[in-house]
């Protein structure tokens, strides 16, 4: 983990309210999908806290982040332009674990839960990616997603504007039941989706890892703000996660 100043190379819309941010990242550092960085937008003291974003890709002096406008900071970020400076702390947290050999892999992404899952699919180069969104226009970079070596893509949209109409769950259930206990599931997205994916996985005796979200104070384990309740007690999303064994999570109601 290092803290470094980065220039913006690109910051362009790629779907509704969704942007691709490319930073010039000059340090050499190892990372793994599921890990994230904390971005500081400004030297000024407001917004005060950094914000967590998954690493979509890191290498060749470039850090790629895919983000959606959600509140104040993401709004401000979307208005920043080429040449402006950000401070980047990372890579942080524990990424997804490695699948065992020969296993089938299912990636499930809902909405802006896409980046960590997409990053993993690109690295592992095998398996099935189910991507859910509200509508066609909310899906970023569909061409690039469709072209990942070794990955089969299925889409689901709430309005049926592309792929199956509805959520990712029916397709996911079908796949899991087909593959049986041998397969491995990686998921990131809205909490209700994660809960369902976990439940289905557990019912089918399948290993499932979920990337969790929580409001963060620091991102590196010192404030104990980002706690998640697990069977092993309180765990920190930023340090013990964000990727957790789904069977350990005690979901908030």
């Amino acid at each position: 983990m290092i803290d470094t100043n980065c220039h913006i190379l690109e910051n362009r819309p790629v779907a509704v309210n969704t942007f691709m941010l490319v930073l010039e990242y000059k340090k050499k550092i190892d990372w793994w999908p599921g890990q994230f960085v904390m971005l500081r937008l400004t030297e000024a003291l407001d917004p005060f806290l950094r914000r967590p974003f998954s690493i979509l890709d890191l290498g060749d002096n470039r850090l790629e982040i895919l983000y959606r406008i959600r509140g104040r900071a993401t709004n401000m970020l979307s208005r920043m332009g080429k040449g402006e400076n950000l401070k980047v702390l990372g890579p942080l947290g524990k990424g997804f674990s490695m699948p065992r050999d020969n296993e089938e892999i299912i990636y499930v992404a809902g909405g802006i839960g896409l980046p960590p899952v997409l990053a993993l699919a690109r690295v592992l180069k095998r398996g099935h990616l189910i991507l859910g969104a509200k509508t066609f226009r909310e899906i970023p970079m569909l061409d690039r997603i469709k072209d990942i070596d070794g990955i089969e893509i299925a889409l689901a949209t709430e309005d049926g504007s592309i792929g199956e109409k509805g959520t990712v769950i029916p397709r996911f259930e079908k796949l899991v039941e087909g593959f049986g206990p041998g397969c491995m599931v990686y998921a990131c997205g809205p909490t209700p989706m994660l809960k369902r994916v976990s439940k289905v996985s557990i019912e089918n005796g399948v290993m499932c890892e979920v990337s969790m979200e929580e409001r963060m104070g620091c991102g590196f384990g010192v404030c104990h703000g980002c706690t998640v309740n697990t069977l092993d007690g309180n765990r920190l999303v930023c340090k013990d996660g964000p990727c957790f064994d789904a069977s350990k999570i005690i979901w908030r109601t």
Binding site: M1, D3, R40, L45, D46, P47, F48, L49, R50, K87, L89, E214, R215, M216, G217, C218, F220, G221, V222, C223, H224, G225, C226, T227, V228, N229, G233, N234, K239, R252
Partner: protein, 302 residues
């Protein structure tokens, strides 16, 4: 050039910059980013007799120039700390100040006596904890309760006692005087401010615990005023806490009468700020030909 200073017997600091309790965990994470031996002192997370889970999430939320937390004093408990964390911290050869609290007089006393061990240089009492016996009113809100508490704790330990004052609900100068009279060796001024955040979309409080404590630069001007007000009334050293984010802030607090400072929220945002602040302080002193940090403390000009 000399940045060292003496807070109390057995509590000599190489420089006036410490971390604040609760934003540093037990030091391990920061130790991976910079060498902790540059610090004036190290203050681990608040300790209670037994381990505590703290409050449910969400327990942190941003505020204008700061943040509100309702961690709820989650910690591993005194015994686990002494066994698992203290040996690690001792390695940095920097004074260690144990921050602790209880929910009753007895718990405070028992904590203090268990923490009276080699390797701990002083005890910082967090008195912003609800007193279960008096219907949940914080210990630090009532002069009488506070001075009884300090006196009893002093009796049970040979370590210097630092009382960390609550900023609101009573007159902080009176609380400071009460703590001094009861035997406090130093004061930390001050803890977080009672605060709240509400989500106007869900109509719910943002923190699961409804309320929390405000920290960060937002409160700095109030903390600075507290230090100034208290400094003119008490004789024991004051450790400033509240929104310190740069070496400039440190100088300001020293001028107002603080002997040392704690940095909390800012280090969540910029983990390397400790280094920058200490280096900035050194550079400032060199530039202004200031021999000793003591030549700044309380030297506000009119």
């Amino acid at each position: 050039m000399d940045l060292s200073l003496n807070i109390a017997d057995g509590l000599m600091l190489n420089n006036p910059v410490m971390n604040a309790s609760g934003t540093f965990a037990y030091g391990r994470e920061f130790s991976e980013i910079f060498d902790l031996s540059i610090m004036g002192a190290l203050i681990p997370k608040a300790l209670s007799l037994g381990p505590r889970q703290g409050n449910p999430a969400p327990r942190i939320v941003e505020a204008p120039c700061g943040l509100i937390n309702s961690i709820g004093l989650e910690n591993i408990g005194v015994d686990a700390f002494l066994k698992r964390e203290l040996p690690f911290l001792k390695g940095f050869k920097v004074p260690i100040i144990a921050n602790f609290f209880g929910e009753s007089f007895e718990e405070y006393i028992e904590c203090a006596s268990r923490l009276t061990v080699d390797g701990i240089n002083a005890l910082e009492m967090n008195v912003s904890c609800p007193n279960v016996k008096s219907g949940g009113l914080e210990f630090g809100r009532d002069k009488k309760v506070l001075s009884d508490l300090v006196r009893m704790v002093k009796d049970k330990t040979t370590k210097p006692i630092i009382v960390k004052l609550p900023p609101i609900g009573g007159d902080i100068v009176e609380l400071a005087l009460a703590a001094q009279k009861a035997g406090a060796d130093a004061l930390t001024c001050a803890n977080t401010f009672p605060a709240m955040a509400i989500d106007e979309e869900t109509w719910k409080p943002t923190l699961a615990n409804y309320v929390g404590g405000l920290s960060g630069p937002a409160i700095k001007p109030i903390a600075l005023r507290f230090v100034w007000d208290i400094h003119t009334k008490v004789d024991i050293p004051i450790i400033a806490s509240g929104g310190i984010s740069s070496y400039r802030d440190v100088i300001q607090f020293l001028l107002a009468g603080a002997s040392a400072v704690q940095v909390g929220s800012m280090s969540l945002r910029d983990p390397l700020c400790f280094k920058e602040i200490i280096e900035g302080l050194r550079a400032y002193m060199a530039l202004h030909h200031i021999e000793s940090i003591n030549d700044i403390v309380g030297k506000l000009r009119s």
